[in-house]
Symmetry: C2
Subunit: 455 residues, 2 copies
C-alpha cells in the first residue's frame, strides 16, 4: 500500500529551489545527483532551469505520471498544491513543510484543510513536519539535511521510524559513521494521514527489513488496534521502541514539540510489552539491539561463553551477565581438555575464558569454535591495542558466524585503529559494542525475545 513512498518510478519535488542550502534544493539534488534511477521532476513557480534540469510551474504540467510528490513549500501553499496533486492523480505525497498542528490553532486548521482535500482521493500523504523517507537501496532520499553534515547509512537490515526528524537525522548520521546498515527510514511528522501503524505494517512485509526500530513520542492511531497489529508484526520480526515523554516533565515537552498527547509511562510500557515490542531506555541502546537482531540469529538458550584477551573486560561482562540472568557456566571437561592442548598454560579456562594479552586470532578461533558446540552464543572481547591482534580476526569471526546458527557478538573499545576494525567487523555482519555490558545486554534481550515469540 505504501510502496510508492519507498519505490517510486517518478518523483516530483515541489518547491525545488535554485539556491544551494535551501531545503528544496537539497531534496531535488538528492534525487537528481544521487543514485535514484527513476524520473525526477522539479516544480517551482520560477521556471528557470536548476542545474540544466527543466522546472515545471505546476505538478499538473508534468507530462508523465508522478508516483511521489515531495512538497517543500511554505505551509499556507500546501493545501492548493495537494489539490493539484490529487487532480494530477499523484499516488503519494510527502509534506516536508512545517507550520501545521505542531504550531497551534492556525496550523491545526491548515492541517484539517489538507485532510479534507485528501478525503476520498486515494492519494496517501506522509507528514507534514517530517523529513520523509530514505531508502538505502534505490536513492530515494527526501531528507533536506546536506550530505556534508549528515551521512547516509549503507544498506542493511534495520528499518527506522521516527516521530522526531532531528533524532532521526542524528541517528542516521551516527549509523553511517558506525558502518551500521539501514534498509528504510521514515520520519512521519504529524501523521495527518499515514501514521506509525501504517508504516509498521508496511515494514513488517518488507523483505529487506530484518528488524524495526521506532522512536515515538505518542501514538497517533487507536491504542487497541496498535497493540493488536504490532503483536502480529512482532512475531514476524522484532520491533524495538524508544518512547519519550514518559515522565510528566517530558510529556509537557513532547506536547509543545509535536502536539502528541503522551500518556503515562506505565501504560505505554505495558502496551508495548503486550504488543511483543522490545522497549529501550535510550537511542544508543536501541541500536545495540537492532545491530544484533539485524545480522545474528536468536539464541535458543541463555548460556553465553565469553572469551577475552583482556581480563578486566571479562570481569565487567561477567558482572552484567549475573545482573541480567545470563548463564556463564564453565566449559565442560571435554571442552577444557581440548583447549588445554590448544592454549598456553597460563590461559584461564573458566568462563570468561581469558586467552591473555599475547593472544592472536588463531587462539580466538579455537575457543569460539569449541564454544559454539556447547553454548547458545559467544561474546568475543578483543583488546585490539595489543601487538598480537590484527584484522585477521575479522575474516575468522565472519567465517565462523556464517556457518553458525548461534549469535556472536564483539566488544572492542578504543580509538582510531579499533574503530576501523569495528567498522570492518560490522561490514562482515558482526555486531560490535564499546562496553562489554551492552553486548551482554543485547544477548540477554535477544534471548528474552526468543522466549516470548517461540511458543
Amino acid at each position: 500500500m505504501l510502496s510508492e513512498f519507498f519505490n517510486p518510478s517518478s518523483v516530483a519535488v515541489i518547491g525545488a529551489s535554485h539556491k544551494k542550502g535551501k531545503i528544496g534544493h537539497t531534496i531535488f539534488n538528492n534525487f537528481s545527483n544521487g543514485t535514484f534511477s527513476g524520473k525526477i521532476y522539479a516544480v517551482n513557480q520560477d521556471s528557470t532551469p536548476i542545474d540544466d534540469n527543466r522546472v515545471y510551474q505546476s505538478v499538473k504540467d508534468i507530462p508523465g505520471n508522478v508516483d511521489l510528490a515531495v512538497i517543500a513549500t511554505p505551509a499556507k501553499t500546501v493545501p492548493s498544491i495537494l489539490k493539484e496533486c490529487v487532480e494530477k492523480n499523484v499516488k503519494s505525497a510527502i509534506v516536508i513543510s512545517s507550520g501545521f498542528s505542531e504550531t497551534g490553532k492556525d496550523g491545526s486548521a491548515l492541517e484539517e484543510e489538507c485532510k479534507g482535500i485528501l478525503k476520498g482521493s486515494g492519494m496517501r500523504v506522509m507528514g507534514p513536519n517530517g523529513l520523509g523517507v530514505y531508502n538505502s537501496s534505490n536513492g530515494v532520499d527526501t531528507m533536506f539535511l546536506p550530505e556534508e553534515k549528515m551521512g547516509r547509512p549503507k544498506k542493511g537490515g534495520i528499518s527506522i521510524i521516527s516521530q522526531s526528524g532531528a533524532i532521526g537525522a542524528s541517528m542516521l548520521d551516527w549509523l553511517s559513521e558506525q558502518s551500521i546498515g539501514v534498509s528504510k527510514f521514515v520520519s512521519y511528522g504529524n501523521a495527518m494521514d499515514v501514521n506509525e501503524l501504517d508504516i509498521l505494517e508496511y515494514l513488517s512485509e518488507d523483505d529487506s527489513t530484518k528488524v524495526i526500530v521506532a522512536y515515538m513520542e505518542g501514538i497517533k492511531c487507536d491504542g487497541k488496534r496498535f497493540i493488536k497489529t504490532v503483536k502480529k508484526i512482532s512475531r514476524r520480526k522484532p520491533v524495538i521502541v524508544l518512547k519519550s515523554g514518559k515522565t510528566d516533565v517530558g510529556k509537557e515537552a513532547a506536547s509543545s514539540h509535536t502536539g502528541s498527547l503522551a500518556g503515562h509511562s506505565e501504560v505505554y510500557s505495558a502496551a508495548f510489552k503486550q504488543a511483543g515490542m522490545i522497549e529501550t531506555d535510550n537511542w544508543i541502546e536501541m541500536f545495540d539491539m537492532a545491530q544484533a537482531f539485524a545480522c545474528q540469529p536468536l539464541p535458543r538458550g541463555n548460556k553465553l561463553l565469553i572469551v577475552t584477551n583482556g581480563g578486566g573486560f571479562g570481569v565487567l561482562a561477567a558482572d552484567e551477565a549475573a545482573r541480567s540472568g545470563v548463564v556463564l557456566k564453565n566449559p565442560s571437561k571435554g571442552m577444557k581438555d581440548i583447549l588445554k592442548d590448544e592454549l598456553p598454560g597460563y590461559a584461564s579456562l573458566k568462563n570468561p575464558i581469558d586467552i591473555m594479552g599475547d593472544a592472536d586470532s588463531e587462539r580466538y578461533e579455537r575457543v569460539i569454535k569449541e564454544g559454539l558446540k556447547e553454548y547458545d552464543g559467544v561474546l568475543v572481547i578483543v583488546v585490539f591495542q595489543t601487538v598480537s591482534m590484527d584484522d585477521g580476526i575479522i575474516r575468522k569471526l565472519s567465517d565462523i558466524s556464517e556457518k553458525s546458527d548461534k549469535p556472536i557478538f564483539l566488544c572492542a573499545a578504543g580509538g582510531k585503529y579499533t574503530s576501523e576494525m569495528s567498522k570492518k567487523m560490522r561490514d562482515s555482519g558482526i555486531p560490535v559494542y564499546v562496553n562489554p555490558e551492552r553486548a551482554v545486554n543485547a544477548f540477554s534481550r535477544m534471548f528474552e525475545h526468543y522466549g516470548r515469540n517461540s511458543d
Copy 2:
C-alpha cells in the same frame, strides 16, 4: 613521595629490545623518540646499540643516577634485577613483566621474593603485571602498546588509575580519539609495593589533576584506611570509581584475573559512598562524569535549563531530568519577555526551550546568556546536521563558559561532521555527550557531589 614515577630526570629501560614489536622495544622507543627530555638508558645483556643508542649490560653500568627503572624482562629475572636496582640506588621502578601472583603459587613466591628485596631499600616499586605510567605533560610513557594501535590522549585534567591494563589501554585510546584530555595514568598491576591508595594520595596533591578516575577489581590496602584517606581526598577533588567483580560470577572472574579478593557489591558501594566517591556503572559513564568535573564548575543548585534545536532530544532530556530529580522550571516572566523579543514567534519558551530547526549560533547565545542568570547550569543540545548550524557555536559557548561560574554541557549526536564539532568543543573545555540522558545525568551527579562536599 611517588614523584619520580611521574617526573623522572633519568630513566633506564631494563629489557630494552632490539626487535620492533617487542615490549622492551616499544617502551624504550616511547622515551627515546618521544617528547621525554630527561636522560634515557637502554639496558640489555646484548649490548648491540638500539637505533644508535648505547646499550648497558646492567643498570649498574649506567654512569649517572637513575630516577626510574622500567623492567620488562621475564618474570624469573626480576628479583636479581631489582637487587641491582637497589644496589644502584635507583629511586623507583616499574615492573611491567607478568608471571607473578596473578598466575598462582610459583608466581606468588616470586612476588614475595621481590618484596623481600625491597624491604628497607627505600626504592618504591609499581607492578608487576601492569602497564605502568603515562604523563601527558612530559613524555613519560611506559606503555608497551604501539602508538599505531593505541592513541595517547592530549593534556587535560583527568587522572586515571586502573587495576586492569587492558581496560586502561582501551580507555586511553578512546579518550585520545574523543579529544578528552588526561593528566596522568597509572596501571598498577599486582600492587606488590605501591598500591591504589598511595597513587590516590599522590594524585590528590597533584595540581594538574582536577578529577581522579579509578577502575578497581578489589582493594589491595586496608579497607578502613582506604575509606578514611579517600574521604579526605574527595573533599579536595572528585574521585570517580568503577568497581568490577561486584557479582558472584564477576568476583570469580576477577579472582582468576588479578588474584583480587573482590568483596560483596553492597559492602563496596557503602564504603565508596562513605569515602565520598562517585560510583559509576560502566567505563563510558565514568568519563561522562570525568569530562564535566575536569573542565566545568560544580552546580550550586539543581535547576537546569535545556535549550535545543531538535525538539525530540529536548523531550528525552526532560524525561531524564524528571527521573534524576533535576528541576526544569520554566523561565521567569522577565526572561520570557526578553526572549520573546529576540527569538522567532514559533520558538517554544518552556523549558526545554526549543529554538527550532532553523536556529543559528546567535539564537543559542541569547538563550544561554539569559539562562545562566536564573539557572544553575545549561544543557545545550545541538543538532549539527541542520543547514544553519556551524562551528560558530564553539567559540560562543567557550566564551560564555569561560566567563561563567555555572556548568555548561553539550549534547550532539551524529557522524563525521558532528564528531569533528564535538572534538573542537571539548578542546574548548565543554563536555560533550551523544545521549541527552547522559548529559543530564552528569549534571545531576555533579550537583550530588556538590551537596555532599559543600557543608
